[in-house]
C-alpha cells in the first residue's frame, strides 16, 4: 500500500516512507498478564482504564517503569546533587504533579540513605515548590482559584518529611517591588500584543522569568519542570513552524543552563498519557487552575500532534527523538563545578550520556525577548526602527519570530512596548552574561584598533 521506498512524486519526502514505530502489542492482544513480570494482571483488566500502558503492564511494573525513566534522566544528566536546593514548578496539572511526586520520592530515599550512612557525608538535597499565579494575565478556569491554592498547599504539606516550602508567586512580581504598578504594566504589555500565538509565547516566557526570580530570591540551585515527551513533541513543531529551527535544540534537552538558575526536565521521556494514568491510579490530586488550552498556531499544533498520536502511539516519541538528534548548545549541560565532590560522584554515573565538550565554548547571543540563541547571520537587524535606546537594543537583539509575533512593528508602539517590559528582559542585554562579554572582549582584544590607530 504505502510506497515502501519509492521516490515518486515528491522527491525527498517519499523515500523511506516507513517510520520507526515502536511495535507494542496492540489492544487486540487478549493477554491479561503483565508483559514485564508475566505474573500480575494488567491494569486494564482490573478496570483501571483501557489504553496504552494499562493494557500491557501491571500497576507495579507500570509505576516502576515510569519512575525508572525519571530516575534515569536525573542520574544520567546529574540533574540533582546532594547539596542542591531544587525548586519544582507546579501548575496543578498531571505532569508537574508527577514531577513533584517523584522528586519527593527521590528525596525520601536519599534521606533514608543519609540516616543509614554512618559518616553522613552526603547531605540530602532540599525541595521547594512554586506555583505561578497568572491571574493577572490569564483567565482562571471555573476552578475556584483560592480553593485550588489551598489544595496545592495541602498536597505539598502532605509530601513530608522532608518539609517543602511552597511559594505562590504572581507573574507581576518580576517587576521590581518598589514599583507597585507591576500588574498594570504587565496587563498592558500582554494586551498590546495582537498575535494570539505571540501573546501566549510571551506569557510562557514570563512564567520562566517568574520561576527564575523565585529561585534567585530563595537560593534555589535548580528548577525542575514537568515537561513531558508530549509537550516537547509539540514544542518541536511549534519552533519549526515559527522559523526557530536554529534555536530549537536549546529548548528540548534534559538540561537548560542558559538561565541564571539551570532548568532540568526529568520527565522528558514520559508521555502525557502515562503521567495522567499515574495520577489517576495513585489518586494524585490535580487542579487545573488555568485552562491549559493553547491557541493560534500553538493550538493548531496541539490538535495535529494529538491526531498523529492517535494514528500512531509512538509518534510523539519519534518526533522528540528526531529533534534529539539535532546538535544541542553548550549550555544544555550543567556547568561543571570542580570543587564539588558530589558532582564527581555523579559524573561517574553520567557515562556516555554526557555531551562531549572538547571544543571551546562558543559564544552565543540571545534573543532579547525570548532568550533563544540567535544564529549569527540573523542578528544583523535594521537599526532604523524605534528611536529610543531600549527599543533599539531590544529590536536589534531579537529573533525573527519575536519580531513578527510579539514586537509591534511601528516605532512609537514599539517604544511603548519596550517601556513595559519587566526588568529581567530589559536588563538581559546589558548584564545577562557578563562573563561571556568579558570573554569575548578578551578574544577580540588583539583585533581591536585603539582610538589613536583609528585615524591612520
Amino acid at each position: 500500500m504505502a510506497c515502501a521506498s519509492g521516490t515518486c512524486a515528491s522527491g525527498c519526502s517519499k523515500v523511506n516512507a516507513q517510520s520507526s514505530t515502536v511495535d507494542l502489542p496492540g489492544p487486540k492482544s487478549t493477554n491479561l498478564t503483565c508483559l514485564k513480570c508475566k505474573v500480575n494482571t494488567t491494569i486494564a483488566s482490573g478496570g483501571g482504564g483501557g489504553i496504552g500502558d494499562s493494557l500491557r503492564f501491571c500497576y507495579s511494573c507500570f509505576r516502576s517503569n515510569l519512575y525508572g525513566k525519571f530516575r534515569f534522566a536525573v542520574t544520567a544528566n546529574a540533574m540533582i546533587s546532594p547539596e542542591d536546593n531544587v525548586l519544582v514548578a507546579f501548575s496543578g496539572g498531571p505532569s508537574s504533579r508527577v514531577a513533584l511526586q517523584f522528586v519527593h520520592e527521590l528525596q525520601e530515599r536519599s534521606l533514608k540513605n543519609f540516616e543509614a550512612c554512618r559518616d553522613r557525608s552526603l547531605p540530602v538535597f532540599g525541595v521547594g515548590v512554586a506555583f505561578i499565579d497568572e491571574s493577572a494575565i490569564q483567565q482562571a478556569s471555573s476552578y475556584d482559584f483560592d480553593k485550588a491554592v489551598e489544595e496545592m498547599k495541602l498536597v505539598v504539606s502532605n509530601l513530608s518529611p522532608p518539609v517543602k516550602k511552597f511559594h505562590v508567586c504572581p507573574t507581576d512580581s518580576i517587576y521590581s517591588l518598589d514599583s507597585n504598578d507591576g500588574r498594570e504594566k504587565l496587563n498592558e504589555l500582554i494586551s498590546s500584543i495582537t498575535d494570539v500565538t505571540g501573546k501566549e509565547d510571551l506569557m510562557e516566557h514570563l512564567r520562566m522569568l517568574s520561576l527564575q526570580k523565585i529561585a534567585l530570591d530563595h537560593k534555589y540551585t535548580k528548577i525542575i519542570l514537568g515537561t513531558c515527551t508530549s509537550r516537547i513533541a509539540c514544542r518541536v513543531l511549534e519552533a519549526t513552524v515559527k522559523g526557530q529551527g536554529y534555536s530549537l535544540s536549546a529548548d528540548i534537552q534534559y538540561v537548560d543552563a542558559r538561565w541564571e538558575t539551570p532548568v532540568v526536565l526529568p520527565l522528558r521521556d514520559c508521555l502525557q498519557q502515562e503521567l495522567s494514568l499515574l495520577c489517576s491510579l495513585d489518586s494524585l490530586k490535580t487542579m487545573e487552575v488555568f485552562n491549559g488550552l493553547r491557541s493560534g498556531i500553538n493550538g493548531l499544533i496541539t490538535t495535529f500532534v494529538k491526531l498523529l498520536q492517535e494514528e500512531n502511539p509512538s509518534r510523539e516519541s519519534t518526533i522528540v527523538r528526531t529533534a534529539g538528534k539535532l546538535t544541542p548548545f553548550h549550555f544544555n549541560k550543567l556547568p561543571e563545578d570542580d570543587n564539588s565532590v558530589s558532582i564527581l560522584a555523579s559524573r561517574r554515573r553520567q557515562k556516555k550520556y554526557n555531551l562531549q565538550q572538547n571544543e571551546a565554548i562558543p559564544l552565543n547571543t540571545f534573543c532579547s525577548v525570548c532568550n533563544s540563541p540567535l544564529k549569527e547571520t540573523d542578528t544583523k537587524t535594521s537599526e532604523s526602527n524605534g528611536n529610543g535606546q531600549i527599543s533599539r537594543s531590544v529590536l536589534a537583539a531579537s529573533c525573527a519570530s519575536c519580531q513578527f509575533q510579539i514586537l509591534p512593528k511601528e516605532g512609537t508602539l514599539l517604544e511603548n512596548f519596550c517601556s513595559l517590559l519587566p526588568p529581567p528582559v530589559t536588563e538581559r542585554g546589558k548584564a545577562c552574561d557578563h562573563n561571556k562579554l568579558l570573554q569575548m572582549r578578551e578574544q577580540i582584544q588583539d583585533c581591536l584598533l585603539s582610538d589613536t590607530d583609528d585615524e591612520t
Binding site: 515518486c8 519526502s13 507494542l24 500512531n312 519519534t318
Partner: protein, 356 residues
Amino acid sequence: MECSVKSRVKVCSICNHKRAALKRPKTLQQICRECFYDVFEEEIHRVIVDNQLFRPGERIGIGASGGKDSTVLAYVMSELNRRHNYGLDLFLLSVDEGITGYRDDSLETVKRNEVQYGIPLKVVSYKELYGWTMDEIVKVIGLKNNCTFCGVFRRQALDRGAALLKVDKLVTGHNADDIAETVLLNILRGDIARLSRCTSIITGEDGPIPRCKPFKYTYEKEIQFTYAYFKKLDYFSTECLYSPNAYRGFAREFIKDLERLRPRAILDIIKSGEDFRISTSTKMPEQGNCERCGYISSQKWCKACVLLKGLNRGLPKLGIGRSRGLNTVSENGSKDTTKSNGVQSIESKQCGSLDF
C-alpha cells in the same frame, strides 16, 4: 489583517495605480494582476540568481508531467531565460508510464507546451526502459503495491531521459508547500539525514544529474490557483488513476491550516529546515553503482533492477517493502520495528500523483 469596510475600489499596493485584483497568498498584499506576475516571476528570478542555479550555456531538462507545477515551471523558465538572457538550452522531459487514457491526456498537454514555449520535448517510456508498461505491471501485481513501482521507475526514468538529452541539470516543480511538508514528514519519521538535505535547493550534485527546485520559495496557491487561472496556462490535473489514496495527507492539511492562520508559516518551516543544527556526520549511505544497469545504488542491484527481476520471474513481490529491515533498540529499551501501513495517511503526494 481585516479589510476595512470601504466602498471605494482597492488600489494595488505595489504600483498604487491599477485596481487590486487579488490578495497575494504569500503576503496578503492586495495587488493588481500585472504586479502579481511581476513579483511572482521576479522572485523566482532572484532565487535562481542568488543560488546560482544555472550557468550560461547549460542544457537544462524540465521535468514535465503536464501537471500544474511543471507547466508553470516550463512557462517561467522559458520566460526568464529569454528576459534575463540566462543563455540556457531548455528541454522538456516527460515520462510515459504507460497508463492508458490517463497518461495519454497529460502527455498531450506537455506536447502543447512544447509548441507554446518552443521547448523541445523528450518522452521516455517505461516500456522502452523496462519492457513493462504501468498497465502491465498493475495487471500482474494488482493495485496494492504499484506505488513502489511507479516511484522507483519514474525517478530512474527521469535520470535516464536526462542522460539521453545530455542535460547538465534537471529542474523540478517542487514548491514551497512541498518542501515544508517534507520537512515536517522527516521530523515525524525521525529521518535526520533527509531532514538535513530536504531543504537544499540543489540536490544530487554527487549523483549523475543534479536536480534543482526554482520554486523552493513559491507558494502552491500562487502557482496553482492564481497563476494558472489568470494566465490560463494549459495544464492537466494529475490525479493518478492507480493511486489508492488520492486524498490529502494530515501533514498537507496541517500546512494548509497553518497557511490560513499565518501565511508566512510555510517559509518559516523552510527556514527552520535550513537552520537546524545537524552535525555533518549524519550522512546518507554510501552510493555505489548497480551491478546490472550502472545506476546509482547503495545496494548491489538498484531498486528498479530488483523489482524488474521479480516481475520478469513472475515474483512481483520481490523487492517490495523494506530493504533494510533493521531493528533498532531505542533508549528506553522499546523495540523499533517498521511497519509501512499507517504512515501513508500523514503525507499528501501519493506515488500515484504523477506530478514531479
